[in-house]
């Protein structure tokens, strides 16, 4: 049985028919065509599917779609404004924090959730914030550098 | 091209269809084969709230011999009707017009009821909303002038049905049903002669049966088109001969078919009717060949049809 849900996605109201069994990730990628959010493991272990729901970084692959009703959700596609990149996106590019790029959207969303809540995090805060995001390429050094640079820049 | 929003309802009985119609304040259209209706809606010439599909109604798809009549359900497709042995044997004129209608694929979808009740056409009318908006709405669109004949107060759009004229020549009647009950009229009475609203059918009325007296006839249908298939008639002439008398119907020119009777067939009477039909035909520049030419073809096709019948029957 399909159900209609309404929520705010990247600052726009979206109404869409969904199957209750879907995950939010499925809706984003397969129905709404927002493929920036990646599926890495499907079990909430890797963080590649991280999006921000009501200010919190959430693994969308294990988030039941019906729970999205009424929520405010941001994905990587909603970060740049009028063609202008978000500071975190710029920092990731400048600091060389991007290699294969598959973890990048989730990583940036986790970082954004952190900075939104805590504009001046410590290195430990940063490490804690991205501990659920696996990266196989970078060794995390440049990622942490990038997040730090944004925090310091504020 | 996408369709505008409307609701779709499938009626199981005539009563249900009439009820649905009334429920939507008349802003509804009945759907049979859809080969005429759907393009009109796509072009935003009709903007219904609801479409009522009549194809689920039992009994509208039968052909029955009742007493001395053939009773044809309106939902039977042109292709099925053509296969009916009575049609070929008794009504060669109708058989030929069915055969000449559009193309085979559309014959398999289009119904005889829908074919009879198809809307009139005009080169300046059957266009997209954008085209018509740029041109300015014509009389048929609720505007103030005819776009083909600017000083005319009436609409010259052409009725392009192939089969109503044939049916008229074999004395067909239409049984119509509405909430108020049933009425049966001769087929020619269905035509209003007004291109804006070409039929006398009352809002919500449903064509229930086409009744044809079962008498053997001779006949022929002559159709002028540019191509050998798909096209609507630029002029169509149906002729049915019964003993010494004949009935002639001319279609494709103007909002309704013209009907003529010949009491006694001979060269003179045929010529007279041909002349008469020529005078009656008032085509305008709203189809692909010139009006004068189409007018000239009326007597030519009438004489041809008679010649062909004389030369050994319809086929």
């Amino acid at each position: 049985m399909r159900k209609e849900i309404t929520f705010t996605l990247n600052n726009e109201e979206v109404t869409v028919e969904v199957e209750p069994k879907w995950t939010l990730l499925y809706l984003l990628r397969e129905v709404l065509g927002l493929t920036g959010t990646k599926e890495g493991c499907g079990y909430g272990e890797c963080g590649a599917c991280t999006v921000i729901i009501e200010g919190k970084a959430v693994n969308s692959c294990i988030y039941p779609v019906l729970e999205a009703e009424g929520k405010n959700i941001t994905t990587i596609e909603g970060l740049s404004k009028n063609g202008e990149l978000h500071v975190l996106q710029k920092a990731f590019i400048e600091k060389g924090a991007v290699q294969c790029g598959f973890c990048t959207p989730g990583m940036i969303m986790s970082a954004k959730a952190l900075l939104d809540e805590k504009p001046n995090p410590t290195e430990d805060d940063i490490k804690e914030a991205i501990e659920g995001n696996l990266c196989r390429c970078t060794g995390y050094v440049m990622i942490i550098d990038a997040i730090k640079s944004v925090a310091a820049g504020r | 091209m996408i369709l505008p929003k409307f609701d779709y309802k499938k009626a199981r009985t005539i009563e249900e269809a009439l009820e649905l119609y009334n429920k939507h304040d008349g802003n509804a259209f009945y759907l049979a084969g859809g080969t005429d209706l759907v393009p009109l809606i796509k072009l935003r010439l009709l903007q219904p709230k609801v479409i009522i599909d009549l194809k689920g109604i039992d009994g509208l798809k039968d052909i029955k011999k009742i007493n001395n009549s053939l009773v044809v359900g309106p939902n039977i497709t042109l292709f099925e009707l053509k296969q009916n042995p009575f049609i070929k044997d008794y009504f060669p004129c109708l058989f030929e017009s069915l055969e000449a209608t559009s193309c085979k694929t559309l014959q398999m979808r289009g119904t005889i009821g829908g074919n009879i009740l198809q809307n009139t056409r005009c080169l300046q009318y059957n266009k997209s909303l954008e085209w018509r908006t740029a041109r300015g709405f014509c009389l048929k669109m609720g505007g103030k002038v005819c776009n083909v004949v600017p000083n005319s107060k009436s609409c010259f759009s052409n009725y392009c049905g192939d089969n109503a004229p044939s049916l008229m020549t074999i004395d067909a009647k239409a049984k119509l049903v509405s909430a108020k009950g049933e009425r049966t009229v001769r087929l020619e009475k269905l035509f209003s002669e007004d291109g804006r609203s070409p039929f006398t059918i009352k809002p919500g009325e449903i064509l229930k049966e086409i009744i044809i007296p079962l008498k053997k006839t001779k006949g022929a249908y002559e159709k002028l088109t540019v191509r050998g298939s798909i096209d609507y008639p630029l002029v169509g002439v149906a002729v049915t001969v019964k003993k010494d008398a004949a009935v002639v119907a001319v279609t494709g020119i103007g909002p309704s078919p013209h009907l003529y009777e010949i009491k006694e067939i001979n060269e003179k009477s045929i010529n007279e009717v041909a002349d008469w039909a020529y005078e009656d035909a008032r085509p305008v520049l709203n189809a692909v060949l010139t009006p004068l030419y189409r007018k000239k073809m009326v007597p030519v096709l009438i004489k041809r049809a008679f010649k062909r019948i004389g030369a050994g029957g319809g086929r």
Partner: protein, 759 residues
């Protein structure tokens, strides 16, 4: 090698047909990309009006709308094929010039929202007086459509050879007639569609096109993007016929919308839009004056031809020239004066067509027959007498390289029993003949040539990379077939990567009749390069001299001792071990005079070579209705050596429909600037039941420079099938046509006039 061909010249199944019969072949409208938006275009309701203001702000407020644009969002660049014809902004900001011109556009998450948003765009216009008839448009009092073109004359081509006036004065008979033809619709089955996807600074585009490289360059200009950031990609095309040659407004619209929204955008035109707003064919008025000797030799020709160009230049200089050139490339014209005018009117833009110039060519041919009759000569003999032969120069000094014209005339005449039927025709039955030549690969500056890469993969299979594009005529299969021949590898083993501007190298496209002659020649050269490398290794490994080795069925072998052999896949691996993988490159540039210019210097070598064709039509006229029936059609074509005769026949048969039957069916109808038949119901594309019994004759000649002797295939019939019908009409009635198409009303009018005049 040429004398012992394995696959070239055979009736092979086209490599693209499997995908097409199974529904797997994708066309632009079939594409769906993640996050894709749907675009709709707001079009001008006026034939001519000043644009005062365009406001798209309200459209942007419709839920689901992601971008809205007008010409004010573009970069102010005007497009033109030539530097002197840059007059088309694609999205105008000054004024609109035809009904249906692109004015603004939106992209939304679905078509419904896009349609709703369009209705909210506000455009303020100030209507201007419009002109629809080219003769009217040339008058001083006519409204000016473009400031820079006085009297609305877009292009004037003047060609003067010899002394026309003197020759006319000396001619035995002189005749002057004026012929008209309504413009046609391309009516390709696929309505125009484009998908544009802009991401990370790069723009990907898919659309039916006849030349991806030319298209990408135009878009790079219009969008002020470097060429390597605009990538026109491969996609199937549902017919082009000349109507997909140039960059289209929709390309710019979809690109701008994608750049604005950051999402892929798809625009699909409706059938009506495709007819009104993509391209149409020129209406033509041709006055033809001919001077002839008593023996039928043409001594002089004088022409005034007016082309109704619609609102913009498009391929103007080419369109204004081509009907004349294909005639002079066929017949010897010692003295000739040609004045061709392309004139602007407030109608849709006119482009080149496979059947371009029917009033001019059919007029020339029918008039020639009437003059022959007056002189008591036979049209076949007159054509043979005036027809050019190999080695001769055309009037404007272009050398005919190879020429099978004579053979096409003789064979078509014999097959149809032409001479007898023409002389003893019965009432209202007639037979007629039309001839023409077509240039293969004409001057397009540095874009006239093509190049190709080929690589042999580690399993011995082949990847072929060429800019050649296929619009349905079979160019892809042609390339694969040529490669297969040279490399001795079956067609199935060859993967074609083509018409993708970031991968393939420059190619002229498929609209200068260049695919078979130019593109395939480059493929052949690249494969020969690879072949040489294969043979070199095989020679060493097998211990036989290189000249002794041939490639066949995936194997290199010694011709003298065939059991000395090794699979090409082994050779490939040898090459990898040596660090010299087998790749081949090759290119071809036709031998043409690059100084030649359409307007300023219409003289010099026009093309690499020419193909020739003769059509013969038999007709019957119904005297009462004026309806013409075409029971029989014979087409003979010199296309050099046909690479795939089945494909060439297909082109010839299609031409009989699109040009031949079109002569009695097809023409655009107008009310002022309104196209009255922009659909497939009232525009009469012939149906199966309307087709004559067609017989095709391929006259095999061997062009010295063509790939395996091949030249262009099919187009000659497309440009003379109408002449055959027009001449048959003259044969049947003793009179010339006045206007094409010869619809029944038109024919009856002529027949009545004839009766009135004679008796």
């Amino acid at each position: 090698m040429d004398e012992n061909l394995k696959i070239v010249g055979k009736r092979v199944i086209r490599s693209d047909s499997y995908a097409k019969v199974t529904g797997g072949a994708l066309y632009t409208a079939d594409l769906k990309l993640p996050g894709m938006l749907y675009a709709k275009v707001l079009r001008s309701p006026y034939p001519h009006a000043k644009i005062l203001n365009i406001d798209v702000s309200k459209a942007l407020k419709v839920p689901g709308v992601k971008a809205a644009i007008s010409g004010f969002d573009a970069y102010g660049v005007k497009w033109g094929v030539f530097r002197y014809t840059q007059d088309h902004a694609m999205l105008p900001t000054d004024k609109v010039r035809y009904i249906g011109e692109d004015v603004a556009a939106v992209a939304a998450v679905d078509e419904e929202s896009a349609i709703e948003a369009l209705s909210l765009i506000k455009v303020e216009y100030e209507p201007l007086e419009a002109v629809f008839d080219p003769v009217e448009a040339m008058k001083d009092t006519a409204p000016q459509i473009h400031e820079q073109y006085k009297n609305n004359i877009n292009i004037h081509i003047h060609i003067e050879v010899g002394d026309v006036d003197k020759a006319m004065a000396k001619a035995y008979i002189v005749r002057e007639d004026t012929f008209k033809a309504k413009g046609e619709a391309y009516a390709m089955m696929e309505p125009y569609a484009v998908v544009a996807s802009y991401a990370n600074g790069y723009l990907d585009l898919w659309m039916p096109n006849a030349g991806p490289h030319v298209r990408a360059k135009a878009l790079s200009n219009l969008l002020k993007l470097p060429l390597n950031r605009v990538r026109v990609r491969h996609i199937n095309s549902g017919g082009a016929f000349g109507g997909r040659s140039e960059v289209a407004p929709g390309d710019l619209v979809a690109s701008l919308l994608s750049i604005k929204s950051g999402r892929p955008v798809k625009l699909v035109l409706t059938r009506e839009e495709n007819a009104m707003c993509s391209r149409q064919v020129h209406d033509i008025i041709a006055t033809v004056k001919t001077g002839m000797k008593k023996d039928g030799t043409i001594v002089a020709k004088e022409y005034k031809t007016i082309y109704d160009g619609g609102a913009y230049s498009s391929t103007g200089p080419i369109a204004t020239s081509i009907p004349y050139y294909v005639y002079e490339e066929c017949y010897r014209l010692p003295n000739v004066r040609y004045d061709g005018y392309r004139v602007f009117t407030n109608k849709g833009i006119r482009g080149m067509y496979g059947c371009h110039g029917r009033a001019f060519l059919a007029g020339n041919e029918a008039q020639m027959d009437l003059m022959a009759k007056e002189l008591g000569l036979d049209p076949v003999e007159v054509r043979l007498k005036n027809g050019l032969t190999a080695g001769e120069l055309t009037a404007t000094k272009s050398k005919i390289i190879s020429c099978g014209l004579k053979d096409t005339i003789i064979q078509a005449a014999e097959k149809s029993d032409f001479k007898k039927k023409w002389k003893k025709h019965t009432r209202n039955k007639g037979i007629g003949m039309g001839c023409v030549a077509i240039m293969c690969g004409f001057p397009m500056g540095f874009r006239s040539g093509s190049s190709c890469y080929v690589k042999i993969n580690d399993d011995g299979q082949v990847t072929l990379i060429t800019g050649m594009v296929d619009n349905g005529q079979g160019n892809e299969s042609l390339a694969v077939q040529v490669a297969s021949e040279v490399l001795g590898i079956p067609m199935d083993d060859i993967n074609l990567v083509n018409a993708d501007t970031e991968v393939t190298n420059l190619d002229p496209g498929s609209y200068s009749q260049a695919a078979a002659y130019v593109g395939a020649n480059a493929v052949k050269a690249a494969c020969e390069d690879a072949r040489k490398k294969i043979i070199a290794i095989a020679s060493k490994k097998l211990g036989v001299p290189e000249e002794e080795i041939d490639l066949k069925d995936r194997v290199a072998y010694s011709v003298k001792t065939p059991d000395k052999r090794m699979p090409i896949s082994w050779i490939t691996r040898e090459a990898f071990f040596k660090g010299e993988p087998i790749v081949g490159t090759g290119s071809f540039f036709p031998d043409i005079d690059l100084e030649r210019e359409w307007v300023s210097k219409p003289e010099g070598q026009m093309a690499g070579t020419y193909s020739f064709g003769t059509s013969v039509a038999e007709i019957e006229i119904d005297e009462e209705t004026g309806k013409i029936k075409v029971p029989k059609f014979i087409a003979a074509h010199d296309c050099g050596r046909p690479i795939n005769p089945m494909a060439v026949e297909g082109q010839m048969e299609g031409s009989v429909g699109q040009a031949g039957i079109a002569t009695i069916f097809e023409g655009n109808m107008w009310y002022k600037g309104f196209l009255l038949n922009p659909d497939l119901l009232e525009y009469k594309v012939p149906l199966a039941c309307d087709m004559p019994d067609i017989e095709t004759i391929i006259v095999s000649s061997n062009d010295p420079k063509g790939p395996f002797g091949a030249k262009e295939g099919g187009l000659t019939i497309r440009m003379n099938a109408y002449s055959a019908i027009a001449c048959a009409f003259t044969n049947a009635t003793g009179m010339l046509f006045e206007e094409l198409p010869l619809t029944p009303d038109n024919v009856l009018k002529l027949l009545e006039k004839n009766k009135g005049g004679k008796r």
